[in-house]
Each structure stands twice: as C-alpha cells, then as structure tokens.
C-alpha cells in the first residue's frame, strides 16, 4: 500500500512506545559487493525492526576490529557512496522497515552534504548516524539541510555524558537517541555490568522525550533482552558482521541469527 509522502516509518516505530526494537547494523558491500540489498531484505523477512547500513570508511575510529575489517573488505570490494546510492535506488522501495545510514563524515562531505541528503530522501532513507560529526557542529552547519530533506540525525550518548548534555541532546534529537552502552568502541565483548545497569537506570529515570536504543556490546538474546528491560530496543553490529563473515548461505544464517536474538530460537 502506498504510504503518504510525509509518513516516516521511523517515527511510527519510535512513536508508539514500542518495546524490543531490534536494530541490526551491517556494512554495505560486505561480504560481497552485491550483498547489500539482499542482506537488508533477509533482515526484514527475519523480523528485524530497523536496519542500519554502514558506509565503509578507511579510518573508522569508533569501531573495533570486526567492523574495521568489514569496512576494509567492503572498500577492497569496490564499495563507495555512489555505488551504494545506486544499489539502494532499486531495492529500498520493496522494504517496509525503516532504513538508516551510518557513516563517518568525510565521505559524506566529499559526496556533498546536500546531494547526500537529497539522495537519501529519494531512496526513503529516514535517518543518519554520523559518529564523528559532533552535535554542535551539526546544528550550526548542517541541520537546516537535513531538515529540508526530512532526515533525522541520530545522536549518541555514553555513560560519561553529563545529565545536562543528555537533556540538550534530547532537545535536539529526532526519533531516537543512541545510547552507547559503555566507554568503548564497537565489538567489545564485556556483557552488561552493574555499572552499566546503573547508567541505563539513570537514563530511564530522566524520562527523556525521545526513546533510547542501546548499542555496543549487544550480541545475543541475553544481552538484547537485558538492554530491552531498560530501553525501547537495542542495536547489534559486530556480532552480526561475524555471522555474515561465517555464513555459507546468507538467508538461513540471517534468519537463524535474528530469530535467536529475538526469541532465543535456533
């Protein structure tokens, strides 16, 4: 069914006080150049609620070895932003769940921020995560462009973020806040400690305007469930990249992984 032009799926997903939202990250062009849209389709069919497609970059400083390696491999495969936009052009209309792009700022800057936003809008991409574009820099220089194309920029907070700054980020957020679970890069396997639970409880007690979704260190049913006790959902990245790395058949591997995370079923 045709959706009205202004209906944003991400707002629907975040706006209904939904719980147990499962967001999955993967790197575009990994493991093979042409896998991007197939992986997205399988994720939707398997029951993921939100998809984050990573734009590969040569120097991903917020990422651990697993995602670094997938970035490097995707670049070697020949992935770039032009190609990704082409891939998404043909496939996104068939997807129902919201898609956001995650990428470091320099490739977007070189592509042209306005052109990037226009192309995202045209492909029905609804949100962006740009870890090395600070909130203030975004608000001063780029917010007006993102707004023009109705794109939501999603900000990160961490256990070290002060309450005052969390409030300020909440004020300036759209759709949801990405709560980084610990002081870490992606792919750290530490489980979830009592200290982290205290941080999640602090976030809960702040009664923010926007839902928050927990990422970093979420890898399986147990950590996903625990995160969902505090937040509206959680994001899995490195653990899923490892699944893709080892998958013989993408469809069954993705299905199995998503089901195991959501329902603890194999």
């Amino acid at each position: 069914m045709e959706k009205p032009a202004n209906s944003r799926r991400i707002s629907d997903l975040m706006g209904k006080n939904n719980k147990n939202i499962l967001s999955i990250y993967f790197t575009a062009g990994y493991p093979n150049l042409g896998d991007t849209t197939e992986i997205a389709r399988h994720l939707q069919q398997s029951g993921a609620d939100l998809i984050e497609i990573g734009i590969p970059y040569s120097d991903p400083v917020a990422d651990g070895p697993t995602i670094q390696e997938s970035n490097q491999r995707a670049l070697e495969n020949g992935m770039n932003l032009d190609l990704l936009m082409n891939q998404l052009k043909s496939s996104l209309p068939s997807l129902e769940i919201p898609i956001i792009l995650m990428g470091y700022f320099n490739p977007i800057l070189q592509y042209g921020v306005e052109r990037f936003c226009a192309d995202c809008r045209q492909r029905n991409i609804e949100g962006l995560i740009i870890p090395d574009l600070p909130v203030q820099e975004y608000l001063t220089h780029y917010h007006h462009i993102f707004k023009q194309y109705d794109l939501h920029n999603i900000f990160l907070i961490t256990p070290q973020t002060s309450d005052a700054r969390i409030r300020w980020i909440d004020e300036n957020s759209e759709s949801f806040i990405y709560a980084v679970s610990d002081a870490s890069i992606t792919g750290a396997k530490r489980g979830i400690s009592d200290r982290q639970k205290a941080y999640f409880e602090r976030l809960q007690s702040m009664k923010l305007k926007h839902p928050f979704i927990i990422g970093f260190g979420i890898s399986d049913h147990k950590t996903f469930n625990l995160a969902c006790k505090f937040a509206n959902g959680a994001i899995i990245g490195s653990a899923f990249i490892n699944v893709l790395k080892q998958a013989k058949d993408l469809e069954s591997a993705i299905h199995q992984f998503v089901q195991s995370v959501k329902y603890h079923q194999k």
Binding site: V61, Q68, Q110, D132
Partner: protein, 393 residues
C-alpha cells in the same frame, strides 16, 4: 594571538573538533581548562624550569658558515636536534604531561611515526612516574627499531597498530580508540598540531618556544630579531608551527613549509599533502588531506617516517590557503642529498624529516644579505640505516 584561532578551534575554515560523542567529555574538559592551566604562573615556572634543566633549552642558534657560502646567503640553524631525546618533540610532551597532571590523569597514551614523539612521551612518563602506552604502526616498528627499544627501555609499552597501512595514521586511530575505551583516567598526548581542538593550539603553544628563542638569539647575533625566511619541514607540522609562531604577524618574514614529495609528486608515492590533498576531515579536524574522490584517506609515502602522514595541522591548511606560508616539497633523494651535504659541510647529521627543510634551500634563490633560519628539528642518528642503505656519500 599569533595564529588567528576562534573559540571553536577554527583557523578560517579549518580546525574544529570532529570527535565521536565518546570522546566529548575528555576533549571538552581539555578545551575548557587548557588555557587556564598553561597560563598559570606556577605551571609556566615548572614548564620553563624543565625546558632549561631537563631538555637543555635554549637550544643554540648556529650560524652555518660553510652552508651559507654554498647558498649565497646567511643561514642559521635552530638546533632542536640538541634537545634531550634528539628532536623538538619533547617541548610538547613536557607541556602536555604537566597538563595531564593538572587534569588528574594517571595514564598516558601516544601515537608515534618515526618514534621521536613516542620516545619523547616515554621519557616524560618515566620522569613523572606515569604509565605510558605508545601506539606505533607495525611497519614503522620495523623501520625504526632502535626507537622501539628506547621506548621499552624507558618503561613504556609499545603496541603495534595492525590495521590499514600500519603506519602513523593507523597508530593515531588506535590511540583514539584506546582513549574511547579509557576516557576517565587517561590523557592522550598527541604529538603534532593535528587532532581536535584544542590540540593544534595547545601543541603550537608548547612548541612556540622555538620562535621565541630565535627572535632573541637572532637579535644578539645579527642585530635584528626577524629573519627574511624561516624554513621548516611539515608532516603534521609541529616544528613548523613552533618555528613560525612568533613570526606570523611579521609580514616581511617569509614562512617556508616543506613537505615530503616521496618518490615525486606524480609518482603515487608521496606525502605532499597541500599538492595532492583537498579539504576534508581527519583525526578530529577539518584540514587538507590526501584522499580519493570518495573521501577515503590515501596512504601517504615518504622515506621519512615522521612526514609519512596524509594530512597537515589545520593551522597549516590555513597558512597554505591564505598564502601566508609558501609550501614547497622535497623528494626522498633531495632530502638524502641535503642531509649528507649538511653532514659534510657543518658536521651535523640531520634527521631525514629535517633534511627535507634543508633541501628547500637548493630550490630557492637568495640575496647575499638574506638571513635564513632553518629549523633543525631533529638529529639523524635514528636514520643512520637509511643513510647507509640509500645515501650517496
């Protein structure tokens, strides 16, 4: 203020603090406190005392008579190579470790290319009894083995950066990742005028002692405090920033920055950022960097590990764009030749980084009464193997 920097850390369009939120509290704390800390009289007294008694400052300004004769002008060498640990790098590490103490940090991390900054960091950590981890590209660890051992001898842990090109850029990535993982007790001593604000400004201030001394020494020796030219090599650009600092407002002083052309600008093996790069964001600041059309960072190349970096400090991008500094480049071969020339003419074996600045002398023409200061940023002991292998002497 000697370089025009605004409160957000921009020099014109370049600079800023493009950092992930995970680093915001650290960088914000530093930004809020660095000026108060380093302008405090007690800090200044301690800093200056260490520069004098530990580093051996002021470093001499030496009139190089025989070199002057071959170039037809008056050439002075600012002898940063005579500093403790053999390069200008220690000016900054002394300053930053004192800042780290004021911030209540207990551990130090650093990145290093040639190993000079790593050694300078390991040295001050030993001096202050602080734990030190230095990230170094796996490739650089092989080509600068003596410096790896020096760092270990000084009690530092050297961790190889095994991602990407396994050189300075990747060592910097690893150090940033370490800092993200250890935000509370650790200070990151960046070794050049790169990184998010306030690093470029803070490092520049610590290195500005170079030009402060040149002014006084030149006045004593030449009866004038301003030379006609100041020449320095630029990788990230910390020695150049220090050598230019007090001359930036003196419009008659020509500032010459020399980049590493590697095997030649068009060879595909070069680190001459201003010739080959364009504006972008790397390691926390907007600057000029070598990159593909898609914005992927290009692996640089130079015979000198200290110039083997794909970007330059944002203030240098600004000096380049405004034309305030003139940017030249020297190839591997030109640098080797210039290093050997200085060795034979003046009895000084310069670091290969520094040799690039010396090579610029032969690309320029001077009047006989021109006063030229070359910042002799480091000594060549660490490069002996390269000289032996590739030099013609």
């Amino acid at each position: 203020m000697s370089f025009p920097i605004d409160t957000s850390g921009y020099y014109g369009p370049y600079g800023g603090a493009f950092i992930p939120e995970m680093l915001f509290p650290n960088v914000d704390e530093l930004r809020n406190r660095y000026l108060d800390i380093i302008q405090d009289p007690d800090f200044q007294a301690r800093f200056n005392q260490l520069l004098r008694d530990y580093v051996g400052r002021p470093s001499p300004l030496f009139f190089a008579q025989r070199l002057s004769e071959t170039n037809g002008c008056k050439i002075y060498l600012k002898r940063e190579d005579l500093n403790h640990t053999g390069a200008h790098k220690i000016n900054n590490t002394i300053g930053q470790i004192l800042v780290a103490q004021q911030l209540g940090k207990e551990k130090i991390i650093a990145e290093t290319g040639a190993g000079q900054h790593g050694v300078a960091t390991a040295t001050v950590c030993a001096l202050m009894g602080m734990e030190c981890i230095v990230y170094m590209g796996e490739v650089d660890m092989k080509r600068q083995r003596p410096n790896v051992e020096r760092m270990k001898l000084l009690g530092a842990q050297v961790r190889p950066a095994t991602s990407g090109s396994r050189t300075l850029k990747d060592a910097t990535n690893e150090a940033l990742r370490h800092w993200i993982n250890h935000p509370v007790d650790t200070h990151y001593i960046i070794g050049s005028v790169v990184g998010p604000h306030p690093y470029p400004d803070m490092v520049t201030r610590f290195q500005s002692v170079i030009s402060e001394e040149i002014k006084i020494q030149l006045e004593q020796q030449e009866g004038r405090s301003n030379p006609d030219y100041v020449i320095a090599c630029v990788g990230g650009g910390s020695n150049a920033a220090g050598a230019f600092y007090h001359f930036n407002q003196e419009q008659k002083v020509q500032l010459i920055a020399v980049e590493a052309a590697g095997r030649g600008l068009e060879s595909g093996y070069s680190a001459a950022t201003t010739s080959l790069g364009k504006p972008g964001v790397l390691h926390g600041s907007k600057t000029i960097l070598m990159q593909t059309d898609d914005g992927q960072v290009v692996e640089p190349y130079s015979i000198s590990a200290g110039l083997d970096y794909p970007g330059i400090g944002p203030l240098h991008a600004y000096l380049f764009e405004t034309g305030r500094a003139r940017f030249l480049s020297a190839t591997d071969q030109q640098a080797l030749d210039a290093g050997i020339k200085l060795s034979k003419l003046e009895g000084i074996i310069p670091a290969l980084e520094t040799a690039h600045a010396l090579a610029a002398l032969d690309q320029m023409s001077f009047n006989s009464d021109d006063v030229v200061v070359v910042n002799l940023s480091g000594r060549g002991d660490k490069d002996l193997e390269t000289y032996i292998e590739k030099g013609k002497y």
